[in-house]
Assembly symmetry: C2
Homo-oligomer: 427 residues x 2
């Protein structure tokens, strides 16, 4: 009977998770099955209110910090530090319903299951547990991305974050105040001893290798550039070609170059992902040669040597583009990181939990940035992936099968249990 | 004494024109000496109100038509049709102060000089004269350009124009109603027997050949395309390169191709001007491969054979771009015209006036579109150019020397006098 009861209880827990996930997916829902809920929009505010209700109803203390990170705290050990677990609810424009949101809801359910488990067993963990919904991970409306966790970990100044404005000149600090999402009673990084996050892979390697769980052991290295192309405004019709200084043409050459760099240097063993995104053109009128273009150009690889070759090729080729389009190209912002490991002890801990649950698993690197990448700079961090169907992400068609999603919540629960018991504690 | 008196009167007329032009240039003035007054903005409304006052003070009847074209009518011959003379006051974003505005003010002064001349001489022309300030010639805020004159000449449906919205969803019809710039008592095309317009060249051929006046005898031929590039939204980091369908990459290839076509086919004898402008990217987020890009691609040449070779090369090369970026490229809109002549009789008439005034002149083609190109489809039209310093246009640095600007007003006055006397009348 115990086996059946346990199986029935597991089925019930899975159903509860999937029900809540279906509800969560209604906030900012799009016609094609995705979600459109950028940070601090009305849809984001509505889902945050809903999450707060869910956490409060399960006995969590809900609060915000000074940059709008939302917490649900389970204070079971008075005065003890926290193990945080979470992700982000905000989405890309017309994004998928799993990216971030899956991890926040998984964290909520995992922490709640542990609260019930500890209460029923009369047990007390070593640390308190906090669910966190980071503010503005996506960075599509307010740049940079991973804003909330960057401030939390001291990588970004709070005032800089609060003074950030979107393209319609809405200021982060004003909007968060308006929404009542600023507070002072939440934990700070010094109150935190460990962090865990689960996320969809956003690639298709788990699906192709047939594993349910990815244990993230490192991030790809990356060079991210914010480039400005300066030309001169003129008439698209009457200006003779030799006189043109076309900023859009310069930006187009950079966009084509990014792809050429990948074509030249990427191999199956050491892939190189390159892209240009968010191209802004001034004045962007139909009959005016652009005076300025701004764009993001990213180079990413798991192999630092390949990344450096790509970076060298980019810089070698820029002068020729400047001559061809008669423009000036300058780096307005740059961000670089090498291959960054997650703690091996955390990978081993998560592998042990997966074994116990009978979940197939393999180590994997993350290409995309996550809030966990920030937290990993400050506290022992465990990062877990579940498969993405066909690797589709930042797209309304994003999908993770229910069985994989539920397996991930089960695994996160066991990992969180061990972290709360002090498994990765360094103190 | 007569000679001196005449010279003094001319100097006074020139000073009056330059004074008014300085005042006109304050509307939407930018720090760098340009103007920023797109159609139906507050700055455009303010300059239209000012123009109305200037016209009314000179005895013109001021009115608007159903799409916001502004008229100042000099009804000297009851019931007779009109010779219209004008241009447009709206500008590109951060545009120059001469483009369009010079022609409207020149028309106002020319018509007023004739009113005085006729009154003092007790003479009556054959036709009435109307100054016109066309609505939205630039098309930077509301697409298409030359909107007001297109509706006036029946080339664009009035309802289509009124239903056009800018990027902030402001509707032309609503905004014009709000500004009180819609009316029903203005002339219609059937009331018009001829049209004249003077404009800055926006190129540097007059400056290089040392002529004060360009007599426009034809327009360049053009293919203008509005292209849509369809890709698929995905993650700029984690999506493997082979899976990407990058709409921005497709747009970049088209932008580079446009320039390559000019490089390949343009010659000094038969120049070919090509451009891509107003590139819009969806969703234009920093970490998202674009799902869609839309852009304007123009090919222009005075040689129709060269233009057709360019057009063929464009279409031949598009499939390779579609394969390289894994996108679909479609033509959402196309506009083509061949080399269009202005009436030779009008060129001859203007040449005669220039001779009498002692102004150096040569025949020239227009590359840019003008309201006169629309009017030339319906009534005998005379189009005049004055030099642009260094050919700079759609730029805050746009400049026409005072002496050239004043010479142009003098010439326009004489041309208008002959048109009002019936010089090009076909009836």
């Amino acid at each position: 009977m115990t086996g059946n009861t346990t199986a029935a209880a597991a089925t019930e827990r899975h159903a509860a998770f999937l029900d809540d996930f279906a509800t969560l997916s209604t906030f900012g829902a799009t016609e094609r099955g995705g979600v459109h809920r950028e940070a601090a929009t009305d849809a984001d505010a509505a889902q945050r209110a809903w999450l707060g209700e869910q956490l409060a109803a399960r006995g969590f203390r809900v609060c915000f910090d000074r940059v709008g990170n939302q917490f649900g705290l389970l204070d079971v050990v008075p005065g003890a530090p926290y193990v945080l677990v979470g992700s982000h609810l905000d989405s890309q424009p017309f994004g998928g319903r799993y990216d971030g949101a899956y991890g926040v809801l998984a964290a909520t359910h995992a922490a709640h299951r542990l609260a019930v488990r500890w209460r029923e067993a009369g047990a007390t963990p070593r640390y308190n547990v906090g669910v966190v919904n980071w503010f503005n991970e996506e960075g599509s409306r307010f740049v940079p991305s991973m804003m909330g966790s960057s401030v939390f970990t001291g990588l970004l100044d709070a005032d800089t974050a609060l003074d950030t404005r979107d393209l319609r000149d809405v200021r982060v600090g004003d909007r968060l105040a308006e929404l009542g999402q600023l507070g002072e009673t939440a934990p700070v990084i010094d109150d935190v001893v460990a962090y865990a996050e689960i996320h969809i892979e956003q690639g298709r390697s788990l699906e192709e290798s047939g594993h349910t769980i990815g244990l993230v052991h490192a991030t790809w290295s990356a060079h991210k550039y914010f480039l400005t192309v300066e030309g001169e405004q003129s008439h698209t019709g009457s200006t003779i070609m030799a006189d043109r200084r076309d900023a859009l043409l310069g930006a187009a050459h950079l966009t084509v170059l990014a792809r050429e760099i990948s074509d030249a240097l990427s191999t199956p063993e050491a892939p190189l992902h390159t892209s240009v995104s968010q191209l802004t053109v001034e004045p962007n009128s139909p009959v005016t040669v652009a005076r300025e273009a701004r764009l993001h150009l990213d180079l990413r690889s798991p192999d630092e040597a390949v990344l450096e070759r790509a970076n060298a090729m980019l810089h070698e080729r820029i002068p020729a583009i400047e001559r061809a389009a008669r423009v000036r190209i300058s780096v307005s912002g740059a961000h670089h990181w090498g291959v960054r490991p997650f703690p091996a002890a955390g990978v081993k801990l998560a592998a042990g939990c997966a074994e116990e649950l009978g979940l197939s698993h393999r180590e994997i690197m993350t290409i995309a940035g996550h809030d966990s990448v920030n937290m990993n700079c400050r506290v022992p961090t465990v990062m877990l992936f579940v498969p993405s169907v066909e690797g589709i992400s930042h797209n309304e068609g994003e999908l993770t099968h229910d069985a994989d999603a539920c397996a991930g919540v089960d695994l996160l629960t066991e990992v969180l249990d061990r972290l709360a018991a002090g498994a990765l504690a360094t103190g």
